[in-house]
Symmetry: C2
Subunit: 192 residues, 2 copies
């Protein structure tokens, strides 16, 4: 998605260790107009899939997910990263290892908001090693919900996430695919 | 706001200890169409205030904030509840005590995204004891940003938050004001 690639080029910064920082429009400061366009793009791509619900993870997945939900006319559920006081029982949960933070955390979704009647679209801000999305797939499986696809804002295509997700048979649709961050230069995957 | 009060009555549940659970449309599952209307209402109310940026806190403030940001044509910054790996230095921060969780956490905003040139609208999902909003006011003060007002989705008017915030001289605009949750019955403040 050209508009997103431009935003990444203009406002993203590459840090050592292949870290792409997009705090200026996605992960800390949010550009609502851009998020609306990303959400609309996800909605258009998955429009014929009979989606009943969007599932994402707090916090950076929420903005693109709510705009996709608005465009598709479906609710959004965000998985929580740790159990909250008012959400103790009645949970689907999965463990997610973060390579960035080098720690394992639990993500969880209330059983009230995900059932075997649902066909879900998973949306997340980044796909790198795929652990967060795999955790959401695990939760969908616990709920016996169908998964129509996975929508990713920024995919680091040089890491293993896409491969791991595709091995599950689920479609992965990424709005920007980064081939390399070497030498602090952003190179996108060119699909001709 | 009538539509919000209806959603609270229909989908909210009252738990012991004056806890209002609105996980069905705000705090876990999100109703994007309702969020859009809440955001538009905030935008309309504060439209003449010269707002340059909306500041909220992850995670439940993000959805109403991004729709308000879209309507006002300004970016949204969400304060983080703990410091992340890629956001170490260069932060404004404040300590926030949560009566619900009975713990103190740090909230922080990057200095890159809040300056003395900004006039901000603070948006949050709940106002109870006011600690989160006071923390955001503290961050605004550190940044020497002007504060045009505080927009709250649901205010528990029987707790001290509104009083504490109003003592700072900042306008508090709440879309739903709850007078009482006694006997597990939701009573709204009636403003005639």
């Amino acid at each position: 998605m050209k508009l997103l690639e431009e935003a990444i080029r203009e406002k993203g910064t590459v840090l050592p260790g292949n870290v792409l920082k997009v705090d200026a429009f996605l992960n800390h400061q949010i550009d609502p107009a851009l998020m609306q366009k990303l959400g609309a793009e996800f909605a258009e791509h998955f429009t014929s899939k009979g989606i009943t619900k969007i599932v994402t993870i707090e916090s950076s997945g929420i903005a693109p997910a709510v705009f996709a939900g608005l465009a598709l006319g479906v609710p959004v559920v965000f998985a929580r990263k740790k159990k909250s006081v008012t959400l103790k029982d009645n949970l689907y949960s999965a463990s997610v290892y973060s390579y960035t933070k080098q720690e394992t955390s639990d993500i969880s979704v209330s059983k009230s908001f995900l059932t075997s009647d649902d066909t879900i679209l998973i949306i997340d801000d980044f796909l790198a090693n795929g652990q967060a999305a795999l955790g959401l797939l695990e939760i969908a499986e616990e709920a016996q919900a169908a998964v129509a696809g996975i929508g990713i804002v920024i995919e680091k295509s040089f890491q293993q996430g896409r491969k791991l997700l595709q091995e599950t048979g689920v479609e992965v649709y990424s709005l920007a695919r980064i081939a390399s961050l070497e030498n602090e230069t952003i190179q996108f995957v060119r699909e001709d």
